[in-house]
């Protein structure tokens, strides 16, 4: 069950004198819903950016399913099955909701290079897009232009685009930020279900501690670019170092 999906070895990154990642060694295991937490500036975003390919690491290696992906460009990592969603809304604003989901669905099926093929005949992809829309609860908005959605729905679409790339490993950067409680419950249910189905392993960066502790099987705590805690929610809650630098009264209460 617990096979290593992603392995990070001695990963370093500095911006000037600020160390954003200091010798990070981590293994993300398949099927284990993992959360990464840490105060602002702890290096969570830097870590995700390095793992997903938008930021080159200063040193260290990243292995995905045993293959070295340290120097691969973003789209190659996505095709291997490593994807992410974004904290801010990052969709295709003037395209329909359907097309937003369709772009990654076409790309990962190797259909997107078809120059003269008719888009209308991609029925296999359409079925998959509809399934995803159904799942995230945007089926009724399929024809709406993305920029006309409510902010919460845009956030839901954001997660949907990431899911459409059929990732084996998916980083969700604050997936529920800006959602109303109903949308939040729906997305969290989706994540939990998909995680149990086992096709996708989720790694969540989140500020909301309720979500982290209710959802995760494993929690990793970052502080100034270093891993200071790594374990089950119970272990993290009782870890004195973590309590000292981060959780403070929130856990004590």
């Amino acid at each position: 069950m617990a096979a290593a999906l992603l392995q990070i070895e001695n990963l370093n990154k500095s911006f000037g004198r600020v160390q954003a990642a200091g010798n990070i060694n981590l293994t993300i295991e398949e099927g284990v819903l993992t959360s990464i937490i840490g105060p602002n500036g702890a290096g969570k975003s830097t870590l995700i950016n390095m793992l997903s390919g938008s930021l080159p690491a200063d040193s260290g290696r990243i292995f995905f399913q045993g293959a070295d992906i340290t120097d691969l460009p973003i789209h190659r990592r996505v095709r291997l099955g490593l994807c992410r969603s974004f904290q801010v809304v990052n969709v295709f604003p003037e395209l329909s909701v359907f097309d937003n989901i369709q772009i990654p669905a076409l790309a990962v099926r190797n259909r997107s290079r078809r120059l003269f093929g008719s888009l209308a005949k991609e029925t296999g992809v359409h079925r998959e897009v509809n399934e995803i829309l159904e799942m995230i609860g945007l089926a009724s908005e399929a024809k709406t232009v993305a920029s006309a959605l409510s902010h919460g729905d845009e956030r839901v679409l954001e997660v949907g685009i990431a899911l459409a790339a059929r990732p084996k490993l998916l980083f969700l950067d604050e997936p529920t930020a800006g959602m109303n409680p109903r949308e939040r419950v729906r997305i969290l249910d989706n994540i939990r279900q998909l995680s149990e189905q086992g096709r996708t392993t989720f790694v969540i960066v989140e500020h909301d501690m309720d979500i982290v502790f209710s959802l995760s099987q494993r929690v990793i705590v970052l502080h100034y670019g270093e891993v200071i805690g790594d374990g089950t929610t119970a272990e993290i809650k009782s870890n004195p170092r973590v309590r000292e630098v981060y959780l403070g009264e929130e856990v004590a209460a």
């Binding site: 789209h75 295709f92 604003p93 097309d99 990654p104 790309a107 997107s112 120059l115 093929g117 888009l119």
Partner: protein, 312 residues
């Protein structure tokens, strides 16, 4: 509903163009030929501009590649027009691949400036390589040899016959570009326009798709260049000049960059207006500039975009 409307409009336009070819006078036939050639140039260009969101100021270079490719082939190798057009198109395609390779690494203003720089380089090369390109005289005396189809010879030297050859190529271009716009590839291009950062996280190689769009648009520019050269029977370095690169930009803007038919309508407006204004004044640019100002500020989304807006 929308679809049947589009088919009716396309059919009427085609019928109108055929009627012009059969009935209109010499001058109108010539002018409409020019409109159709500019349409091919702009339709291809708008795949890059309106669809992919990349503003190029260097597409005259590819027009010139098609133009000189055909011209040199016709003068030195064979006057066969169809092979000549093919040679021109291939030249443009190769040049677009080379220039595009460097340009698509940049975005926005850097991309635009780089295409401008390459365009200027191509212009200077043509200007200075006198022995090959004829320098500022250009290439003259390019004949429209008859097209032989087995026993039938089509004398395209006659403007009316040539008009129908251009119409055929326009129809082919419209068909191909329509297919490309409505293909999976075309959707990815729209995704690049909308959000080039996100599209990589959809598993798409940004550079390759940009290059693809660049080469396709350059290839159609080459087709326009080859057809334009046959129409005028000559070509000159100014076909590669940056001011010529501005034409497809203006035409797309006039017609509407987010619409399929925009470049077609824009080409007609551009050429006809220019022809009319030139009759009254030497300063056609001044008056044309004013009219352009009104169209761009008054019709956001171009003429076609505005009309489509009315219908809703």
């Amino acid at each position: 509903m929308q679809r049947s409307w589009n088919i009716i409009i396309a059919g009427l336009t085609l019928a109108g163009l055929v009627l012009i070819g059969l009935l209109a006078g010499r001058f109108v036939v010539y002018l409409t030929s020019r409109v159709m050639i500019l349409s091919i140039f702009a339709l291809g260009y708008n795949l890059l501009f309106g669809r992919t969101g990349l503003l190029s100021f260097g597409h005259a270079a590819f027009y010139a590649a098609g133009s000189y490719g055909l011209g040199l082939f016709a003068l030195h190798v064979s006057p066969n027009p169809l092979i000549g057009i093919l040679v021109g198109v291939v030249c443009a395609c190769l040049l677009a691949a080379i220039i595009g390779f460097f340009c698509v690494r940049q975005t926005e203003i850097y991309f635009a400036m780089l295409t401008l720089a390459f365009g200027m380089m191509v212009f200077s090369l043509i200007w200075n390589m006198r022995s090959v390109t004829g320098g500022d005289d250009g290439l003259v005396g390019i004949m429209r040899a008859p097209i032989s189809l087995g026993i039938v010879n089509i004398p395209i030297i006659k403007p009316r016959y040539y008009y129908f050859l251009v119409l055929l190529f326009l129809a082919l271009s419209v068909f191909l570009i329509y297919r490309i716009r409505n293909s999976p590839f075309g959707l990815v291009l729209a995704g690049i326009r909308e959000n080039d950062r996100r599209v990589e996280f959809a598993g798409v190689s940004l550079k390759n798709y940009r290059l693809g769009a660049f080469i396709i648009s350059g290839t159609f520019a080459g087709l326009a260049g080859a057809l334009g050269t046959l129409l005028e029977s000559n070509t000159n370095p100014f076909s590669a000049h940056w001011s010529h690169s501005a034409e497809p930009v203006l035409v797309s803007l006039i017609g509407g960059i987010q619409t399929f038919a925009g470049p077609l309508v824009g080409s007609a407006v551009f050429i006809v207006l220019r022809e009319i204004i030139e009759r009254f004044t030497q300063n056609w640019m001044l008056w044309f500039g004013l009219i352009l100002l009104v169209i761009i500020m008054g019709f956001r989304g171009g003429i076609v975009g505005a009309l489509a807006g009315f219908k809703k």
